[in-house]
Amino acid sequence: MADIVFRNVTKRYRNTLAVDDASFTVNDNEFFCFFGPPLSGKSTILRLVLGLEAPDTGEILIGGRPVNAVSPAERNVAMVFQNLALFPHMSARENVRFPLVERKVAEAQIEKRVADVAAKLHIGHILHKPPAQLSGGERQRVAIARALVRDPNAYLMDDPISALDARLREETRVELKRIQRELGKTLIYVTHDQEEAMSIADRIAILENGKIRQIGAPAEIYDRPASTYVARLLGSPVMNILKSVRGEGGVEAAEGTIRIADRAAPADAVEIGLRPEDIKVNPWADGGQGRPARVFEVEPLGGYTVVTLAAGQARLKALLRGQPNIRPDAMVAISCEPARVHYFGQSGGALAR
């Protein structure tokens, strides 16, 4: 069993609280992702898991065993670095063997483990080459193989693909997910790219200034964000969050350009959130209810079109499918299905309908 548990872990650096009372459980075989803006504590949590740092308060357990005082070497958690850190003067095989050779494992064992891990990662045929002769993807797999050859409880990755070209990032993240599934090992992954987090994680932990704000499956967090902070982090374009007031039988926002008929709207809602893809845009028919919004800008992305609307004083972004015929300065009616509206209270927390 290789689950990883944090209980009320806090870590301070001089005056900054890098990790603030963090509690979570990473389940065995899970692809768990820590996501948040820079300096939110993600890398610190990795270092705590690895054992490069000790928590100021709280407990860390790996496989049910408290490891606060256990050195990194004994925790059996492996790290794949962003720059891979492959030894350039050794062949891929020697790189992969290295952790075991260091620990003086018997030669027969080493051979077996290397063969095992190479088969799993499909790198058997390139093991004889030095890293310089391998493609980026091959090098990444060798780095992962080296991390896994010790059969660790879990392996960690800190933003491994952010330095790659956009195209390559898309392909590599699918690769990484596939590898993790095949290997069946717990993987803790840190990223600041929301698309990446949503695409490959089984569960995500959202961080803000060292505090964990929400943990859940990507779809869950996307559909039911716990606060405006979380709501703004996932999704592109960003969720539109507007001040709302109670209107007839529902809520109103953006000076009446948005009216949601929803009897179930919570009474103490002060803001509503509308995802760009949930906003329906229709040509304004004179005599229609409410007020029209004006199309400020149209960005054609090919498969989708982002329309920026000037609704009262606010600017909203709507995501429309395909290449609809819509021009700047057109007057339109904005609407949204009540079920897809997010309500937020005074402190930014989500409210149920």
């Binding site: 070209d165 898309e170 698309e195 949503m198 982090l233 592109s236 960003v238 090919g302 995501l319």
Partner: protein, 363 residues
């Protein structure tokens, strides 16, 4: 007039050709993106426009002026480096004031201009901070401000958002666009991210291995890619391309997709071009332009991967040469292992010659 014209522009480094005879016209006030993967020559082109590198052959003209022999300090271009190249030993104010200072502007004048630019870029509270202790997001604005204060007619940006975190990138994209619209500068923007190019540019110049592939508006390169490279590079994900043989059938011209066991129809206009053609073709359709056909006609493929990314779900289907991706709304409810039948939207199908990769046009 701040138009830019590149004529037969070539750059070689010894044996290596970084840029091969590029011809490009950039209109006054246009936002032109140079888009392509690493090593495609986009940065080299930019460096030559700026005067940081000399072309091996060919000409660069700003308006009517040939820029040959004009040193980089005299071209009147603003340049934002990928690593910002902020003067880290100076304050934000001193960075912004640098250009005017070097040109000998009066102190009052400099202060006024610095104040205006700082206001515009929301840097006013940070003016007296040392530049080496600031976050990348702020450095980016300072880099832009430092160039913008000179009010150059031409603004060059070399992958300025690649070091910035994903969330901030979206914010900066909007700001850059607003800036460009406000100052009406001709902007040339180098990037490897097609989304950036599509969002910001008036026109995109797609490049690969030193060769210009296509120039057009975002919709033009999306809807009518001239070759396989552009078709794959533009779009997230890129266009699906399946190999097949054109064949006659009672439904008209179709393409035989071999092991996939289907023969979808080809666009009518291509009949003349394809009739009697020997070679294989690539049957192309965009992932966003497919529908899920329940038991109807289409490509039946096993689902191998499902990525749910916020507003949409990307479904990976098939294996190897027959692998395709489809983008659906989130209620699509497909799971790995299931067989799905996807039907590409007929009007958006594009066909390419398998050997040359060139798009086949109606003829």
């Amino acid at each position: 007039m701040s138009t830019i014209q590149l004529r037969n522009l070539t750059k070689t480094f010894g044996d290596f050709t970084a840029l091969k005879t590029m011809d490009l016209d950039i209109a006054d006030g246009e936002f032109m993106a140079l888009l392509g993967p690493s090593g495609c020559g986009k940065s080299t082109t930019m460096n030559m426009i700026a005067g940081m590198e000399e072309p091996t052959s060919g000409r660069i003209l700003f308006g009517e002026r040939d820029m040959a022999g004009v040193p980089m300090g005299r071209r009147g271009v603003g340049f934002v480096f990928q690593n910002y190249a902020i003067f880290t030993h100076m304050s934000v104010r001193q960075n912004l004031a640098y250009g005017p200072r070097m040109r000998g502007a009066a102190k009052a004048e400099i202060d006024r201009r610095v104040g205006a630019i700082a206001e515009l870029l929301q840097l006013t509270p940070l003016l007296d901070r040392k530049a080496d202790r600031l976050s990348v997001n702020i450095l980016q604005r300072v880099a832009i401000g430092r160039s913008a204060i000179m009010e150059p007619a031409i603004f060059l940006l070399d992958e300025p958002l690649s070091n910035v975190d994903a969330a901030f990138r979206a914010v900066m994209r909007t700001e850059l666009k607003q800036l460009q619209r406000q100052f009406k500068q001709t902007m040339v923007y180098v990037t490897h991210d097609q989304l950036e190019a599509m969002t910001m540019a008036d026109r995109i110049a797609v490049m690969d291995h030193g060769v210009l592939q296509q120039v057009g508006t975002p919709l033009e390169v999306y809807n009518n890619p001239v070759n396989v490279f552009v078709a794959r590079f533009i779009g997230a994900p890129g266009m699906n391309l399946l190999k097949g043989k054109p064949a006659e059938s009672d439904r008209g011209l179709v393409v035989d997709l071999g092991p996939l066991g289907v023969t979808p129809p080809l666009p009518d206009g291509l009949a003349t071009t394809l009739r009697g053609a020997r070679g294989d073709v690539l049957y192309g359709f965009r992932p966003e332009q497919v529908a899920l056909a329940q038991g109807g006609r289409g490509l039946a493929m096993p689902v191998t991967f499902v990525e749910r990314i916020g507003a949409r779900t990307i479904v990976h289907l098939g294996e190897g040469g027959g692998a395709v991706k489809a983008v659906f709304d989130n209620d699509v409810g497909l799971t790995i292992g299931q067989t799905a039948i996807v039907a590409p939207d007929a009007s958006s199908v594009r066909v390419f010659d398998a050997a040359s990769g060139v798009a086949m046009k109606a003829g």
